[in-house]
Symmetry: C2
Subunit: 372 residues, 2 copies
């Protein structure tokens, strides 16, 4: 990763390699196209209108977001087919109904309890997805509960303003899988169960649901998508240390780092401290083989080139503004206070979310959404 004008950087700065990110987008767009399915990327990872335009360049015209305010932000930059992929928050129903009048705003539900409110308030016909829980234990109706799912399909379809779309699933387990084989096993089992569920629903109701699945690990590692209609990965645009450790991406596909000033050098304990802590990186971590949590991996910047990710310099602790990195002894010959090091974050989505803005490796700033 080649980087320019680092002399201007004073504080922790999230830097994006545009060519790598565009390559990642093109890879996923091609894969979806070859499988004959829709790509509806999750924009919660980058949260930027400008970066969204890189997806448009690959003919992506539908997206996923994780909050209403993010949906409003992207609608304002011309996206008119957006799925809000979190169970509908009834407290936001007025602004949701307003946005659903202006764009095609897909909503997600997992309970009959919200239907009366939706039916009463939504004035435009609104796409509805039923959230299915693939034994992940977050939201959704458990996928073995065919009866409840089928009943909810019928209830939605009975409402004039609710346009039933299909089943929406997030297979979160793939983020904890420790090998590509395990990711693929989880994915295959998911797809088989969804296919079974789809047949049951079609048999009982006569309605054939679409199938929308989500996660980056499976989207990147399965060869071809079978039996699904849509994928919603997000993280793949940047990837991160977690995806690299799990074998989901290659080192040269990592498209974002946090550049951090060195503020302390401790050769006695082979550690450095950076200005870059939980408020810049987040406290998300990967648990390593011996049970230790790491928050990212650091790399040196030499001759304007950011070193590739490696296990040699883990971020072992973060407090509010500081990060502690375990480093090889030869780093002390190369680093001075005030130098920058690059950190490949454990989880790029949360690191990106924390930034007021980004910077491209070419040096230009990129604006993004921020909750106000």
């Amino acid at each position: 990763m080649h980087i320019q004008n680092t002399g201007q950087i004073q504080r922790p700065t999230f830097v994006i390699d545009e060519s790598r990110a565009r390559r990642n987008i093109a890879m996923m767009a091609r894969k979806a196209q070859q499988s004959g399915i829709q790509l509806r990327p999750h924009f919660k990872t980058h949260q930027s209108a400008e970066i969204g335009s890189w997806f448009r360049d690959q003919n992506v015209n539908r997206i996923t977001v994780s909050s209403l305010s993010m949906a409003e932000y992207f609608a304002a930059s011309g996206w008119n087919d957006i799925t809000l992929a979190i169970p509908v928050n009834l407290r936001e129903l007025d602004p949701i109904a307003g946005l659903a009048e202006r764009i095609r705003l897909g909503l997600v539900i997992d309970s009959e309890a919200v239907i009366p409110s939706l039916a009463r308030r939504l004035t435009a016909a609104t796409p509805i997805w039923i959230k299915i829980d693939p034994d992940y234990g977050r939201c959704g109706i458990h996928w073995q509960n065919h009866e409840r799912i089928t009943n909810l399909v019928k209830r939605v379809s009975d409402q004039q303003t609710l346009l039933f779309q299909g089943l929406l699933v997030h297979l979160g387990q793939t983020y904890d899988a420790d090998s590509v084989l395990q990711i693929q096993t989880f994915h295959d089992r998911q797809v088989d169960m969804l296919a079974d569920l789809k047949r049951t629903i079609a048999d009982i109701t006569g309605i054939v649901p679409l199938i929308s699945i989500g996660d980056t690990p499976a989207s990147c590692t399965v060869r071809r998508f079978e039996q699904v209609d849509e994928i919603r990965p997000g993280n793949f645009i940047f990837f991160d240390a977690m995806q690299w450790l799990h074998g989901v991406c290659r080192a040269d596909e990592l498209a974002a780092v946090l550049l951090c000033p060195v503020i302390g050098l401790y050769p006695q304990r082979n550690q450095i401290v950076i200005y870059g802590g939980a408020v810049h990186l987040s406290k998300d971590s990967v648990t390593m083989a011996k049970g230790e949590r790491i928050f990212g991996f650091a790399a040196l910047i030499e001759n304007h080139e950011i070193g590739e990710i490696s296990r040699q310099a883990p971020v072992i602790k973060v407090s509010q503004e500081h990060g502690v990195i375990q480093v090889p002894p030869d780093w002390f010959e190369k680093l001075q206070p005030g130098d920058l090091v690059a950190v490949y974050p454990a989880h790029s989505c949360l690191t990106a979310d924390l930034q007021p803005a980004y910077r491209l490796t070419a040096g230009r700033p990129v604006s993004k959404f921020r909750l106000s």
Copy 2:
């Protein structure tokens, strides 16, 4: 905690009980006064000019911050004695020198390597603290290294623009202590070692350093401060689930909660899901007795009264926008989608940092600093 006008709340909202927060401030101000020492509270916890004024009401006139931009924010609201309690970031030296011309800006160093740059760029006489590492392993010179510390004291004192103040310590271990007794033991050992170090420095250099210590757990649990000149606690204004679990505060001293809409109810597994995840709460956690990590504790709101913190409803998982809470079975008789629950966060500093603004329990918004 009594709360008004919750009907207006649409999204995860950080709510502060002003009377509890003011009581916490008064408690710490009184304790410092009774010990005859200075209170220089850490404003990284609340990051708000308005809340800062509650400290002014207790005659606090010096503060601590954790970033230059936070120092600039508080300087703009009239604070003119601020310690920037993180080793100086040489990349920010120009704006640091600028601010040091306008206010009394204390800087922290732990290495001779930064002295030439400081001496060259600072135009105003600037207070300098030497950071000491009390075996915590973040920043600072290890406190047993009397020789390096003494040499650095001499080097600083030799510079005309650098006003040597003393030794600054953060005893981070107290956050991992599992009892008040252990916190006090850590604290006593720290104070003894600092007193010893102070005598050594005075004997060798003739300079008597001030002693500034920091952490909330010790500041709250020791009866009286001996042998220190200044304390810099921050978290005590709000406290949080971690401090409550460790016995540092009482349930009725917790002064902040995150109110979150319920978006999913799962009685089969005694769980609810809230709109409120890592981007609202942070991913900071407390590790419980059986090794499980929890991200906060939830409480019901009944008749405008927020229930006290208890262990009955832990937040067991957070993803970007969702939180999963394990709840007692009777909560399902009381909750509907769209209701609010209160979450006492694991770590209030990081939760507060994520907010664009706060709200008082009385209903009024409170603005705060935000990195731009």
